[in-house]
């Protein structure tokens, strides 16, 4: 082991370790995974901080993400340009938040952003409908979807504006014991 790697400078690795929930070994492993997606695009030398972005199609084809119905939203939320094209730092960020050591508030914040399809910082009815359809593969009838959306807003909307704000969402997540273990991708 030791310090024989030449991909990152020591300062870069330290910085990544402080900014994510990964150890040095895991960061190098993640870099290998990132590079495996497109070896010809990703250089082996990141010491000069190259500006390399992998397109969404490559990210979405990763085995951990390819069957997830929310993969497009995940990539959009964590990518710099909001379109799903991710740099290495976005990639590290994404898996750090989805790792098992990220605290609940951080995960809740990003989960809120993922489910907010129209990016208006509120989970309105249309966002909920899209979420439910993705969850059940469009198999619920219109009536059922409508009923469930109404119930969700009834239960979680505390300030009575007909849509869920970030605080409502976080308040609801506090009472969900499974959330930490389900909002978790092991890589």
């Amino acid at each position: 082991m030791g310090n024989k790697q030449t991909i990152f400078t020591a300062q870069q690795l330290d910085a990544y370790q402080d900014c994510t929930y990964f150890t040095r070994k895991e960061i190098l492993r993640l870099f290998d995974r990132y590079r495996d997606l497109a070896p010809q695009l990703v250089p082996l030398d990141y010491t000069c901080q190259p500006d390399v972005k992998l397109p969404y199609e490559l990210i979405g084809s990763m085995p951990e993400l390819k069957d997830n119905p929310f993969r497009q939203r995940i990539a959009e939320v964590f990518s710099e340009d909001g379109e799903g094209n991710m740099t290495l730092e976005d990639f590290l960020d994404m898996f750090s938040v989805l790792s098992e050591m990220a605290p609940r508030d951080l995960k809740a914040y990003y989960a809120f952003k993922i489910y907010d399809f129209n990016n208006d910082d509120f989970l309105c009815k249309s966002d909920l409908e899209k979420t439910l359809n993705k969850l059940t593969r469009n198999e619920l009838t219109e009536d059922e979807v409508r009923m469930v959306c109404e119930k969700v807003i009834d239960e979680a909307d505390l300030d009575n504006d007909g849509r869920l704000s970030l605080e409502d969402f976080q308040h609801m997540i506090v009472r969900a014991p499974d959330f930490l273990s389900t909002f978790h991708i092991r890589i």
Partner: protein, 694 residues
């Protein structure tokens, strides 16, 4: 540093996101904002111009942890980190030493955690199971792993205090008291006479008789010896008894600790079904779910769960509108079905009772028939445990409870059946050993236990438990090989309507968990009489883990009706406690009431197993005796009891206060929301009137 009050800071934007994003389009820009509550500390509301004194007082755990938990892009975090590092020289040397120490301690903790996770058994397998089959199935395997570890540690305990001293001191040491008593009672001859047919060894292995009987496996082989040396004395009977007692206490502590962690979660989130739909919508999707098939299944699961909830709602509405006549019909139907299921269970008990009696009477037959008679109680128990729950399930369908209640009712019936059927077996054994409680009549008159049938009754009880354990294991394997694999092969290769309707095996979590609880209860009841039983059980559970894993991945499809994984862990442990209670009752009764066999074992000369404790007690020094007397006396125990009542009341009051304050805060939130809407309307009205005026 300007710290604005929490409420107004709920939406704060960092200006440099816009600089950095370099996108004029607001929609696609990543608007990362700091939420109002990031962990328990105040968020670092970063102001470039002012020094950060507040962060100094948090020590070095402050800045790095805050960085990782802030929802900012990586580049921004790195920039913040650089700024913090540049500001570091401002602190004193003592502060920086403290920070360095805390940082290295944190790194050590993390590497320690990584090291320990290497030791946690089967963690990758469990994760794979959870990803493919869901939390309910995973909780079964987690429970199994807990039992494996519990049994192994118990075995280490027993080996350290009973087995190894017995082996070491076998030839050394003197008998505690010389044995006196009727000659007939002290006869004990476990070894068979004459030529033995070779397959008898195999039969003996399965039933614990013959060469296996007089071995460290059973109670009868341990000696009533005490080793005295210059500075060392070891009293084997006392060690045997105290180890057994401590084993039970240790298991209880482990279960309660584990229940505590599960219960904390259950209590904190409230056991209500309110919040059910929002939970399903936002927390049910498992992001670790891998594979196309597992994903489709998970989606079907969620679909089914939502449909069930909606159906329950409509059923509740319908139930509220039932007429009186319909209600009477429904309730009488439920009562009659309850009576019917009770009748089925009692019939099963009667069958077990008769089978045990028959088996005990004909136990001296040789060969395969003898083996069959010996295993008869196990066979009847297993058959009952298989058939009766099936019938109870059908009965529960007729009763038309809400779907979630149906599952719970069926489970409770199965628990009742399994544990009490074991109790019936033990009761029958007791009746035969002590001549139905009348110890001074008939065959029991001479030795206060039935020495004609049982020369060494503890070994016999140990053998019964050993047979139950083995049989349970063999049945599991047999069902796997003879039922589940063929079923899958038939369903996969021969497609017609019948096979499609039958379908692949479903991994029913509740039935499997009850099997584990039953196996563990058998071990608890038998541990006093068969000290190596925890070791055998450890091996059995390890093998079971691998067999169940194989059948899960090859033969099963996930169940549609799933258990909530957090409440289910708690429920499994509660059921395990019932089993522990049964084991405790058995051990207390055997230790205190029944006279130990005079021909074998470490307690052969004592009137009861417990009497070794007062005897050894006399040998202690005066001060220790007085101290122990004091602890046992009223002047100590009553104040202790009063103190624990006070402490309990305090905690109950604390919990209720927290609950009330949560409800109050929630009401306050709703009120604030309405205030906000009212004010917004006012503003609109005012601006409209202004507009009209203009």
């Amino acid at each position: 540093m300007a710290r604005s009050p929490q409420r107004q800071s709920s939406r704060e934007e960092y200006d440099y996101t816009e600089e950095y994003g370099s996108h004029s389009d607001q929609q696609s820009l990543r608007l990362r904002r700091v939420p109002s509550r990031v962990s328990n500390q105040n968020p670092p509301q970063f102001d470039w111009s002012s020094p950060h004194e507040e962060e100094d007082e948090e020590g070095s755990s402050g800045p790095p942890r805050d960085l990782r938990a802030t929802p900012l892009p990586m580049a921004l975090k790195r920039a913040m980190r650089q700024i913090q590092q540049m500001r570091v020289p401002v602190v004193s040397s003592r502060e920086s030493w403290k920070r360095k120490k805390a940082k290295s301690l944190r790194k050590l903790k993390e590497s320690g955690r990584g090291f320990l996770s290497f030791f946690s058994l089967w963690s990758k397998t469990l994760q794979k199971i959870g990803g493919n089959f869901g939390g309910g199935v995973q909780s079964y395997f987690l429970f199994l792993r807990f039992l494996v570890v519990l049994n192994f540690v118990s075995f280490l305990l027993i080996a350290g205090f009973v087995l190894i001293p017995s082996i070491v001191f076998r030839s050394v040491g003197s008998k505690l008291i010389n044995s006196t008593g009727p000659e007939a009672c002290m006869e004990y001859d476990p070894n068979p006479q004459g030529l033995v047919v070779f397959y008898n060894y195999f039969l003996d292995l399965l039933s614990g008789t013959g060469f296996m009987e007089y071995s460290y496996l059973f109670y009868g082989y341990y000696n009533n010896t005490m080793v005295e040396d210059v500075n060392f004395s070891y009293n084997i009977p006392l060690a045997y008894l105290l180890t057994a007692v401590f084993y039970f206490i240790f298991c209880l502590i482990c279960i309660i600790v584990r229940m505590g962690t599960a219960a904390r979660v259950v209590v904190a989130t409230g056991v209500s079904t309110v919040g059910n739909y929002s939970m399903i919508a936002f927390t049910s999707w498992d992001y670790g779910c891998l594979g196309d098939r597992a994903t489709k299944l998970k989606q079907k699961n969620i679909h089914y769960g939502l449909q069930v909830d909606l159906e329950e709602e409509s059923m509740k509405k319908r139930a509220a509108t039932l007429t009186l006549l319909q209600k009477i019909v429904l309730y009488s139907l439920r009562v009659s079905m309850c009576v019917l299921s009770l009748g089925l269970i009692i019939a099963a008990f009667f069958g077990i009772f008769k089978a045990t009696e028959f088996s005990q009477k004909n136990s001296l037959q040789g060969g395969i028939l003898g083996l069959f008679f010996e295993y008869l109680p196990s066979i009847v128990i297993t058959a009952g445990n298989f058939v009766v729950p099936l019938l109870c399930d059908q009965i529960a369908l007729i009763e038309r409870y809400a779907p979630s209640n149906t599952v719970i009712v069926a489970l409770l019936r199965s628990v009742f059946l399994r544990l009490v059927s074991l109790g019936v077996l033990l009761f029958t054994l007791w009746g035969q050993i002590t001549c139905d409680g009348a110890e001074n009549t008939g065959d029991c008159k001479l030795c206060q236990y039935n020495h004609l049938i049982y020369q060494c009754w503890e070994t016999r009880v140990g053998q019964e438990m050993y047979k139950l354990t083995l049989f349970d294991f063999l049945i599991n394997i047999a069902v796997l090989i003879l039922v589940e694999f063929p079923r899958r092969m038939v369903v996969d290769n021969w497609s017609n309507k019948l096979t499609q309707w039958v379908g692949r095996q479903e991994f029913v979590v509740s039935a499997n968990v009850l099997g584990l609880v039953y196996g563990q209860t058998v071990v608890w009841t038998g541990a006093l009489f068969c000290p190596l039983l925890p070791l055998i059980n450890t091996l059995k559970f390890i093998l079971l883990f691998y067999f169940k894993k194989i059948t899960l991945f090859y033969n099963c499809r996930p169940a549609l009706k799933t258990f909530r994984s957090t409440t289910s862990t708690f429920f499994f442990l509660v059921v395990l406690l019932f089993g522990w209670g049964l084991g405790t009752v058995v051990i207390i009764y055997s230790v205190a009431e029944i006279r130990p066999s005079m021909g074998c074992g470490p307690f052969s000369v004592f009137p009861s197993m417990w009497s070794i404790v007062p005897m050894s007690f006399q040998k202690l020094s005066i001060t220790s005796q007085e101290f122990l007397f004091f602890i046992g006396s009223q002047s100590f125990s009553i104040p202790l009891f009063a103190l624990s009542c006070v402490v309990m009341c305090y905690f109950v009051a604390l919990a209720s206060v927290y609950g009330k304050s949560v409800a109050l805060l929630r009401a306050q939130l709703k009120l604030e929301g309405r205030d906000k809407q009212f004010l917004v309307k006012q503003i609109e009205m005012l601006s409209q009137s202004q507009h009209i005026l203009n």
